[in-house]
């Protein structure tokens, strides 16, 4: 059995994976959901939803995500990370919710897998070109089929001896080759798969397929009629859930520990550059719409950029960067010093601007480069066939920059070029003048635009909790001169925060590893729950309701008005 786990076996023919199909396969008792994504990637996953254990093979292949039929959980292409839980539309699922994936190779027109692979799928001598035969399931144990094949004379075929015991090779009287391989499906079912060493088409292909179908069917009937002893059927194998799914997750250390290489650098317009980042070794982690990553630049600067990827695009991350001629230097470095092939350090995606899907319609308002998180959101909404509209306020020299990202839903996008401040305000007023039940507003752009949109929304009667926004940066002046104490309820520590240092700095100096990102009160990554104390909010992330609530704070900029804060960490 152990030996079998390190051998490659075929589990499907390539032709078993047509467009948007999910193939139900099985090997050594373990069931697989095998599906091809729209980008051509073949996924081999354990055939069960992590939620209630239902087979994923009865779900739907949505192109880049697989959706469970039972409660609609969605899983991303490649990573099998859960991207959406309909019962919690307002929460991004934890990244640890991830199905088991198995290694996959395509060879000889078949899909092969192996639990603990040593090397690649072996070569079969003499099969540079081939025709894949119709696989024949046999109600008999692998061992029986194996013994039968080793002893059986197949009419018009001569067995060729070979060291590869898993593959039988036969020479036909006409000099062509046939190779057979047995897939041990479960205790008492095996699948006989074959290839023929000529590429055939048309009527000749049909003749070959029919000839071998009939030959292999006869072998099947002979094996089944022998009434060989049945093995004790084992229960289907199902992996245990990972420990971190059943336990409280530990705080992940905030290292920029992902290494990516720049695989594409494209100028989208005079001022906007797009970078495509590919992982060097490991699979990139699952992201959710609205997420951003930290990028470490050569001079030590760390910058945050939103991912613009659509759902399930897990083989790369995409960011779009506006080149600020007078900015802090991050965009300049990206524009001038980074080129294709460069290796960069990035963080796993953080998401503090999550796409809440508990609304009937979303109005996206994007100012300039603030479009980036909304590209990812709009793609997710489009893929789930949910209702939205996207308004992009931009300069005419940038107007074409994202047309490629809009390609599949351009009818939902309106672009406004070179509007004056007053024209923009009038337009936003006309868009927001009728608040509707269960509609939401998402806004991202320059600080002034966000403030205006919130103001206009509130004036027209929108609920504050239905207006979501993300600032690029915190333009407020941060004062650091207060002194206070913090008590950490879970870590059982008491610390002093002196003037000139932030809560976050003090936490890190004392070994409390809190994840942070922008460190200027804009992104929300470092927020913690406050159990007691009066908070002096200085961020632009929390809305006024959240600030009034006095139970959540951003540790990078906010401080205490009281002498002490008790934090829930």
């Amino acid at each position: 059995m152990k030996l079998a786990l390190s051998k490659w076996f075929p589990v499907a023919s390539i032709s078993d994976l047509p467009y948007r199909h999910i193939f139900q396969g099985q090997l050594l008792g373990r069931e697989y959901a095998i599906w091809k994504a729209d980008d051509g990637n073949i996924n081999i996953w354990e055939n069960r939803c992590l939620h209630r254990g239902v087979r994923l093979s009865i779900g739907t292949n949505e192109g880049f995500e697989l959706k469970c039929q039972y409660h609609g959980w969605r899983y991303a292409n490649r990573t099998a990370g859960c991207t959406y839980i309909p019962a919690h539309p307002a929460d991004a699922p934890a990244r640890t919710i991830c199905n088991n994936t198995y290694t996959c190779q395509e060879k000889y027109g078949m899909v092969w897998t192996c639990e603990t692979p040593i090397g690649d799928v072996p070569d079969i001598k003499g099969f540079k070109s081939f025709t894949v035969l119709r696989p024949i399931p046999i109600n008999s144990a692998y061992k029986n089929v194996r013994n039968f094949l080793s002893s059986k004379e197949i009419p018009d075929h001569h067995m060729l001896r070979s060291k590869q015991t898993e593959f039988w090779r036969f020479k036909t009287n006409a000099g062509n080759l046939l190779s057979l391989v047995i897939q041990p499906q479960s205790g008492n079912i095996s699948i006989l798969r074959g290839i023929y060493n000529l590429k055939t088409t048309g009527t000749e292909k049909l003749r070959v397929l029919k000839y071998y179908n009939s030959l292999m069917t006869k072998l099947r009937d002979e094996i089944e009629s022998q009434h060989l002893p049945k093995l004790h059927e084992r229960n289907p194998k199902i992996s245990k859930l990972a420990d971190d799914l059943s336990q409280f997750p530990t705080l992940s250390d905030q290292k920029h520990n992902l290494r990516v290489s720049v695989s594409e650098k494209v100028k989208l317009s005079d001022n906007i550059v797009k970078l495509k980042l590919k992982s060097i070794k490991k699979q990139l982690p699952t992201f959710h719409a609205g997420a951003h990553i930290d990028i470490v630049l050569q001079n030590g600067l760390i910058r945050q950029y939103s991912l613009t990827n659509g759902p399930g695009e897990t083989d790369h991350y995409c960011i779009a960067v506006k080149i600020e001629k007078h900015g802090g230097g991050g965009s300049k470095i990206i524009s001038e010093n980074i080129s294709v092939g460069d290796i960069m350090a990035i963080s796993a995606p953080h998401n503090s601007f999550p796409l809440l899907r508990n609304s009937t319609h979303i109005i996206f308002l994007a100012g300039g480069i603030g479009i980036t998180p909304m590209l990812s959101m709009a793609k997710a909404m489009h893929s789930m066939r949910q209702s939205f509209e996207l308004h992009h306020f931009t300069k005419s020299n940038d107007k074409e920059a994202f047309s490629h990202d809009f390609a599949s839903f351009t009818n939902k996008v309106i672009t406004y070029n070179d509007l004056s401040i007053n024209q923009s305000l009038t337009t936003i007023k006309s868009l927001l003048k009728k608040p509707k039940f269960s509609n939401k507003i998402y806004v991202c752009g320059p600080g002034e635009m966000i403030q205006n949109a919130i103001k206009i929304g509130l004036e027209f009667g929108w609920n504050e909790s239905d207006i979501h926004y993300e600032y690029f940066k915190n333009e407020n002046e941060i004062h650091k001169n207060s002194t206070f104490k913090i008590d950490l309820a879970r870590s059982a520590m008491s610390l002093e925060v002196p003037s000139g240092k932030s809560v976050l700095q003090i936490l890190k100096e004392n070994g409390v590893n809190l994840v942070s990102s922008c460190e200027q009160g804009a992104c929300g990554t470092c927020k913690v729950r406050v159990i007691e104390g009066k908070i002096d909010h200085q961020d632009v992330f929390l809305n006024s309701l959240e600030k009034e609530g006095q139970n959540i704070m951003l540790t990078c900029v906010s401080r205490a008005k009281s002498k002490r804060l008790i934090l829930d960490i």
């Binding site: 199909h21 039929q69 119709r134 499906q185 009818n411 309106i414 070029n417 337009t427």
Partner: protein
């Protein structure tokens, strides 16, 4: 007016509902409870169908019994395209008939196993039914595989689905309710996906819709651009 004597959980009734959905026909339904009250064996219903079987279709005064017969009738009378039952093509009609009988045979195997497991029909020899169903599924899978190879996505040698596809679909797709796995019939599973994507397809309890079709790129229309001064 069309009126269907119907039972939600019956695969045979579902065949007729599918046909009417594909042809966009409107109809009245009279529900005859099959389980547990066995209304299809009541004296009132026996007057409509002495065989005591569902479904029955009434087209004004004309009564048609048996699902397969109803399919032929509806397709002949209401399919203006003449694709579901192309009566002018003798070889296709012969092929369709062959598979209508196959579909009828499934009621003694796959459907019977489902009645045993789900409707407490304890006098059914379920293992025998399952074994026979597997024998039928093997043949069906081989047939569909070679049709695919020849460029025919459906049961018969036609580019369009026919009433043979409708007649076979319910008790194939419901087989797992009778403990008959389709894991070893990949061509059957692909055909099921294609069937579910026929426009106006409807579901019943235990049958799930297929995923979305590819959206053609031209569906996303021209974007709107407004310019400031």
């Amino acid at each position: 007016m069309l009126k269907l004597y119907d039972y939600e959980l019956s695969g045979n009734c579902y065949k007729v509902r599918l046909m009417m959905a594909f042809l966009k026909l409107s109809y009245d339904r009279e529900l005859i409870e099959f389980y547990p009250s066995k209304k299809h064996k009541s004296l009132e219903f026996l007057e409509i169908n002495p065989l005591g079987q569902l479904p029955v279709l009434m087209d004004n005064d004309f009564i048609i019994r048996d699902a397969q017969a109803i399919l032929i009738y509806l397709a002949q009378k209401y399919d203006s395209q003449n694709n579901w039952y192309p009566s002018e093509k003798p070889s296709l009609v012969a092929e369709i008939s062959e598979w209508l009988f196959f579909a009828n045979d499934l009621t003694a195997t796959s459907s019977a196993a489902r009645l045993h497991d789900g409707f407490f029909y304890t006098n059914i020899h379920v293992e025998k039914c399952r074994k026979k169903a597997h024998d039928q599924f093997r043949i069906f899978d081989e047939h569909l595989y070679f049709n695919e190879q020849q460029g025919f996505p459906w049961i018969c040698k036609s580019q369009y689905p026919t009433i043979a596809d409708i007649a076979c679909f319910p008790y194939i797709i419901l087989s797992e309710e009778g403990g008959i796995s389709r894991i070893n019939y990949p061509a059957v599973r692909r055909w099921c996906d294609r069937f579910k994507r026929i426009p106006n397809f409807i579901v019943m309890s235990g049958i799930f819709p297929a995923g979305p079709q590819k959206v053609p790129d031209n569906e996303a229309k021209q974007s709107k651009i407004l310019n400031g001064n």
